[in-house]
Amino acid sequence: MAEAARAGGHIIGFAATTRTDRWWVGPLLTVLGLGGFVVYATWAAFQGSHYYYGPYLSPFYSPLLFIDPNAPGAAPLGQAWFGTWPSWWPSFLPASPAFLILVFPGAFRATCYYYRKAYYRSFFGTPPGCAVGPLPRRRYRGETGLLIVQNLHRYALYFAIAFIFILYDDAFRAFFRDGQFGVGVGSVVLLINPTLLAGYTFGCHSWRHLVGGRLDCFSCDRSSALRHGIWKGVSILNVGHMQWAWASLFWVALSDVYVRLLSMGVLRDLSTWG
């Protein structure tokens, strides 16, 4: 690991440090958490089945653009925005509705300022910890080279805001089975999901900038005073952005697991529908 020392006694090399605390715990947890999520989400998206039970729709599969009604645990055809699964869909790709939409939340999280920090540290080792040697590279370019795409984060944000409404709509439907109002564990799970997502999305740094942060004067006219108020609210969510990021990530996976297990008949949903 440590290759050489230089003036000041600092050792050079990947993960080289004089730190004596357990700085690697954070990055390790991030690798496990993010890695686990990506593996599960990819697996779940490939299934194309068991994403629907009663009125519950897994958030990984929402919105449903096309549906293959023959897949086990598929949603009824009426739920699809554009009808039945297209025949031109290449056969080497899985016929899964999740495939068509996961790119949007995926891009949002991948370009999020918090997640960038998390994976730059834990996956890319630039740096793995503070005052800890980074992975050696020829010439560091930060976010000016390929990673310049991170600057498009606000566009991913616009889609993410639309998803909050879509997922609240799903949550609303989750309270009606066959047109009858009721409450099940699944309804609550699917209601918490967009709520956590909203806490995460509306604490976004780009959002904070757009709603008011870009102004230099908050008191110069009527609209800037209003925007200052919104900016202050967003700033409160922004302070806990990391916590919102993890809570909403965990919950969206949990929602999928829950609907999947119900649909597979492994779990039974407690509900007022009996």
């Binding site: 003036a7 000041g8 006694g9 600092h10 440090t17 004089t18 730190r19 004596t20 605390d21 300022y113 960038r116 920090k117 730059y120 540290r121 630039t126 740096p127 503070c130 005052a131 040697g133 980074p134 590279r137 560091y140 370019r141 930060g142 976010e143 000016t144 990673l147 310049i148 600057n151 498009l152 984060h153 606000r154 566009y155 740094h205 780009s206 904070r208 900038h209 757009l210 942060g213 870009r214 230099d216 004067c217 908050f218 008191s219 110069c220 200052h228 922004n238 302070v239």
Partner: protein, 247 residues
């Protein structure tokens, strides 16, 4: 009173090594007190820079057990009883002697920043600002120029990109000017090109070490990066600006 083992890097830019010192530590001492005791009793020629002993002058920056810190604000009782304490100069700046580094590079960067250019005065000759408009800037003015954030920033510390990035301390100085309600200078192009906002990968080490708890990344660098996005990476916003002829 208890005896503690210190490992202090001694030397100059030409080279040096760690030297061990055993020294008595009294309750309530900070690392700087112990260094002074070592200087008085065991190593009269130990070089340390310090001034206020109150965390306000920003002189006593060094690395204690590998973490960039102010020696005068690092209490001894946070270290375990038998733990050896390693003390080094900051890595990012050239060593002058022992724990003293030459931080003049930071002042050179500061001189490159276009200065405050205020709006013309109103008719009565009085500038007026409201508190809500200067809150953001005041956070940045808490900076004591300890340069611990510059020391820990991997772009300067490990990636040898002092040629392309001015570092977090200067980014918040830029933020304090850019967000100032009276300022009229436009530093956005320079932020991207000369000061290297894109080199920062927002890994937040600067914020973690700042003894003034300035939210360098969240309140300074990220908002500046977003201003760069406004100007260069947001075609939609550019269109809106054209249509409505707004800034």
């Amino acid at each position: 009173m208890s005896e503690r083992l210190f490992r202090i890097w001694r030397g100059t830019a030409a080279g040096g090594s760690f030297v061990e010192y055993r020294v008595d530590v009294d309750p309530g001492m900070v690392v700087l007190d112990v260094l002074h005791r070592i200087q008085a009793r065991l190593a009269n020629d130990l070089a340390i820079r310090w001034n206020c002993k109150a965390g306000k002058c920003g002189s006593c920056s060094m690395e204690i057990n590998g973490r960039p810190r102010l020696a005068c604000m690092t209490r001894m009782n946070q270290f375990g009883g038998a733990e050896m304490i390693a003390v080094q100069p900051m890595k990012t700046f050239p060593v002058v002697k022992d724990l003293v580094t030459d931080v003049s590079w930071n002042y050179e960067q500061n001189r490159r920043i276009p200065p405050f250019r205020p709006k013309p005065r109103p008719a009565d000759g009085q500038y007026r600002m409201r508190q809500v408009d200067v809150d953001r800037v005041q956070e940045f003015r808490k900076c004591i120029e300890c340069f611990l954030c510059q020391d820990v920033c991997h772009v300067l510390r490990d990636q040898s990109r002092k040629d392309a990035f001015v570092g977090p301390r200067l980014m918040i100085r830029l933020a304090s000017l850019e967000m100032h309600p009276l300022d009229t200078e436009d530093r956005v192009p320079a932020l991207r090109e000369e000061f290297g906002s894109g080199l920062c990968n927002i890994t937040r080490c600067c914020t973690e070490v700042c003894p003034e708890q300035i939210q360098i990344t969240d309140n300074g660098i990220i908002p500046l990066k977003e201003r760069v996005v406004d100007r260069y990476f947001d075609p939609l916003l550019g269109l809106v600006r054209k249509v409505f002829r707004r800034k």
